[in-house]
């Protein structure tokens, strides 16, 4: 479904991605792991079409994202949900208004239907009762949950998660990962999770790619990674 081929990107002469290639199948949840500053988030933004590669390509169902026209990109984004590292909630809107925003702006659903759908989504992420609070009035974990609810409210086919547990305590981080897993069971989306929370993320993903120094260091199932004798992977697994 998502195919990344020889992806290269540099900023101010510094090579961040040095030829990344891998594929994500339909309905598969994929973990993209590696050290901080290793280009994981940059890669995710290429998949979403927020950045253009210097070389190589990202194709989704045969459509190249970087060269897609405005309408094709729009259609692709209708199928896409994105959980930003900081949540990227609109800070002048309440939690309810944030989750309702894409539905109000894009769908022709009635107010009552939107209200029901939003309240149900907030209940799914454990935010019932917090719908009238503003992003600045809730904790980091709640911001991530609200952002997840906003990303999922349109039932996306593809979900991209940019460090969903960063900055959260271990218990809240684990609950976010469990939430992603339960949402995947419910919606069967194709997902890419960028994280350095290994081995915790292994429990909810089908396959893992490890980026190291701008290149793919290893690719395989969580079991393959656990058994690997590669010192870089071992260093990551042992924390």
């Amino acid at each position: 479904m998502i195919k990344i081929e020889d992806l290269q990107k540099s900023f101010d002469g510094h090579d961040v991605l040095k030829g990344i290639s891998f594929e994500v199948g339909k309905g598969e949840v994929f973990a993209l792991v590696g050290g901080s500053g290793g280009g994981k988030s940059v890669l995710l933004k290429h998949v979403a079409g927020l950045m253009k590669p210097d070389r190589g390509s990202v194709t989704v169902d045969g459509m190249e994202i970087a060269t897609a026209g405005q309408e094709a990109l729009q259609a692709f984004r209708e199928r896409l949900g994105f959980l930003f590292q900081g949540g990227a909630l609109f800070d002048s809107l309440s939690v309810f208004e944030n989750v309702a925003f894409p539905l109000k702006e894009k769908s022709k659903l009635s107010r009552n239907v939107i209200r029901e759908k939003v309240l149900m989504e907030l209940e799914n992420v454990g935010l019932s009762g917090s719908e009238h609070r503003y992003p600045s009035q809730i904790s980091g974990g709640m911001v991530k949950r609200a952002a997840l609810a906003r990303a999922l409210v349109e039932d996306p086919e593809i979900m991209l998660f940019d460090e969903p547990t960063t900055g959260l305590d271990p218990v809240t981080g684990q609950s976010i990962l469990n939430l992603i897993d339960s949402c995947h069971q419910r919606l069967s989306f194709t997902g890419i999770i960028v994280t350095h929370e290994i081995p915790k993320v292994f429990a909810i993903v089908d396959r893992v790619v490890m980026l190291h120094e701008g290149r793919v260091r290893a690719e395989g199932t969580p079991v393959d990674f656990s058994k690997s004798r590669d010192p870089v992977i071992q260093a990551f697994l042992s924390g």
């Binding site: 930003f84 990227a88 800070d91 894009k106």
Partner: protein, 284 residues
């Protein structure tokens, strides 16, 4: 002995000096070339930003609620500031105009002088500078914060056009509000001038307003409206652009937003004064 050692030292240093100069000039040219290209690139980006904004202004759908919200912010919330500055500007003009005109025995022309100065020049310019300081800076900061906190990226990824939500409403609101605020500035200023000229310095109400009605023509009023309209475009364009590209052209984080806000106010103010000169010379 001293002279000899100096000469020897100079001889030893000269090749190094030559090498330094040889390296300095290409570096200077390279730096100048880089800066020139960078400025041309930014001007191009500003031009493209303006054209895109115009395009999305005329292609529906228009975000009516956002437009009304921005009209309330740029227009309604500026009323007190504009009335206050307009009143005091008119009062100063009343004093200065009376002082200058009475020297030639022409104090009866205080009304036309205050009216023409406010309607043609001071009203549009000062109102625009006030709106830049109050609303323009806030627009740049708000959009800048949305940029660095990835809220603009979130809009794009929802398949929504950020220009329609953030830029077009500001342009429309500024184009509606600036002429109205300028008219308010003019009216309050004219009464401020009358307060000084008429009530304090003894120019009669009939003379003040009668001469004004005689000398101020419709084309003078239109000149003020055209100017304020174009200043509205400048404020919305520059402030939105600076905010929109705050993570790209002005560095990252809160410092980048701070720089973007400062640049937005400075560039808008300078452009307003420069454009005022060109409009005055065209409409003169």
């Amino acid at each position: 002995m001293k002279r000899i050692s100096t000469k020897v030292g100079a001889k030893n240093l000269s090749p190094l000096h030559n090498a330094g100069f040889a390296a300095f000039f290409p570096m200077l040219i390279r730096k100048l070339g880089f800066l020139t290209l960078e400025y041309v690139r930014r001007m191009g980006a500003m031009g493209v930003f303006f054209l895109k904004t115009l395009l999305y202004t005329f292609i529906p759908p228009l975000k009516i609620y956002r437009c009304l919200k921005q009209i309330q912010f740029i227009g309604f919330q500026s009323i007190l500031l504009i009335a206050l500055t307009g009143g005091f500007s008119g009062m100063v003009l009343g004093f200065q105009g009376f002082y200058s005109l009475s020297r030639f025995g022409s104090d009866a022309f205080l009304g036309p002088m205050v009216g023409l100065a406010l309607i043609k020049e001071l009203g549009p310019v000062i109102a625009a500078l006030m709106v830049t300081g109050r609303a323009g800076s806030a627009i740049a900061a708000e959009i800048g914060i949305m940029r660095i906190s990835e809220q603009i990226d979130a809009l794009e990824l929802m398949g929504l056009n950020p220009y329609r939500y953030l830029v077009v409403p500001n342009l429309i609101a500024a184009m509606i509000c600036l002429p109205l605020l300028t008219a308010l500035f003019d009216v309050v200023g004219i009464f401020g001038g009358y307060l000084i000229g008429g009530k304090l310095l003894g120019v009669g109400a009939g003379t003040y307003f009668g001469e004004m009605a005689h000398y101020v023509e419709m084309k003078d009023v239109l000149e003020g409206i055209y100017k304020s309209l174009s200043f509205g475009v400048i404020i919305a364009w520059v402030c939105c652009f600076k905010g929109y590209y705050s993570g790209i052209y002005t560095g990252f984080g809160s410092e980048g937003v701070s720089k973007a806000t400062t640049q937005a106010v400075v560039l808008s103010s300078v452009l307003i004064l420069v454009w005022d000169y060109f409009m005055t010379s065209i409409l003169f």
